[in-house]
Amino acid sequence: MSVARPRVALVDDHQLFRAGVRAELAGACEIVGEAGAPPEAIAMIGAARPDVVLLDVHLPDGGGIAVIEALRGVEPTPAFLALSVSDAPEDVVPMVRAGARGYVTKTIDTAALLAAIERVRHGDAYFSPRLAAFVLQAFSAPQPAPADDALEQLTPREREVLHHLARGYPYKQIGLRLGISPRTVETHVGAVLRKLQLSSRHEASHWAAARGLVRPDA
């Protein structure tokens, strides 16, 4: 079953863009559904049960975050891969915090998109160099209150891994440079994703605002 083609759903309000992605992925993936708005998308994902959902950040009626939040706790949860033309941290990071397992810009080439789909499908995180840079920036921002929560900080090793990702290194080379296995690199990236997504202590908005990722009034 694991060698089967990934079942992918597309959620984007631009039909032309969906058509383009469908054509590009046609050989390697099975496109099981498409939607242009959150309500449609929620219904479609519930019915089609894709492995991976390519989810646009900017959608009418609440954006991609609305889709992720509506499907939280619904089994089986698909892996969300955020896809956007935006390269602003205030768009990208909240999406990942809400539950997306990765983020890619719409200018990504097909091979990289397929690699990202494969990675999130197997439960791993996919950090493009740009997302890694943003996350690094978010965790480096001066903290308004003393961070009593270890979950709010990165370990030096995680920081190193993220830094290499931002510089464009693939996992294999990061492993070589840091003297660890690619699998361990993956574990570190997964840990960073979990720290991003944990919101037991603080509301997501507070977290993001405290790090200057969103304006406090937004």
Binding site: T107, P129, R167, G168
Partner: protein, 407 residues
Amino acid sequence: MSAIRAAGEQRWRDPTWRATALIGAVLLAALVLGLAGRAGGPRTVALALAAAVPPLIAVVLGPSAVRALRASGGRALILAVPFGFVLLELVRLALLRTHDGLALLAIATLFALFGLVLLGSDLQQRARRAAARAARSPWQQLTTTERVRALPWRAVVGALLVSWAALLTLGIMWPYLVGAGILSVALVLVVSLGVLVLVGLPVLVGAAARDDRERLAQAREDERQRFAAHLHDSVLQTLSLVQRQANDPAAVARLARQQERALRAWMAGRPEELMDTLAGALHHVVEEVEREEGVDVDVTVIGDRALDRAGDALVGAAREALRNAARHACGAAIVVFAELDERQAAVYVRDEGPGFDLAAVAPERRGVRDAIVGRMAGAGGLATIDSVAGEGTEVALRLAPAAGEAR
């Protein structure tokens, strides 16, 4: 029903209408008072008229008459109507037997009204001409000849009419005023001034609000034009370039990418990637190399700092590193990552090309490395080149905190 109410509300919002209503109420009150107290009845009415009518004419009737006439384009009417009235009233005066003070006062009011219409129209035209003169370019000022008028006939006729009305009013009022003594004259003056303030303030405020609205509309229009001009210079320009190079997919992709980046910077309020910061200069250099070498570069810059001498060296070294990467990457991905703050700066230029053995680089090819390593050293920074055959190359450029600076 609701339409009528809406129309009423609309009218009430108009300061001129409010002023008219106010003056009407004052006159009505005076009339009632005059009729109720029989002794000196007509005198009270005359006093009220004397107090209320001048402001009414000055701030309400005059300007509205000017507006109405101008709207109808009735320039001839401006001339014909007052003279028609003058003739008519002269005939009536000839027929009058009894000395009817109120009728004469009404006539004087009409004269004054049309005199003010003429004066107002003259002033408006002067203001318009002055504004047009101010808006002209120096070249237009030199080349445009203005028709010189021998006599401002409108102003003269207007002033004559107003003076005549004033004399007439004074003539009618004189007996009352003489009988009333200095106190009544003072009262008339005070009441007149009071009414003028009451009426004039809302009109002035209304005019200021109207000006504001016009300025706002103008600002919106200016903004739209700025927007249109920007889109024309950027997006439309790129689209036409794309059409012309439609058979070269690489060029089209590059153009689209550059335009996308520029448009996004513009939307984020970063006008044209300011060149006076290090981040702006880095983005600029990336675009330059993308254009020159026909490659795509994935660039992320975190933070920023002012562009100083060391920053210039860093940008120069980054340009060389990027050119190198573009030439040796053979189409593989190029990633630029920069971390900047006021204390330090680091720029990483990485390509996924075949890589090379540093020791094996021929001496005559060192020049390029000197442009990177030497330049950074000269600026008190450091450049490290890290290349593994088959794994790509990374050039790391760092500016350390200044030596004297405390941590």
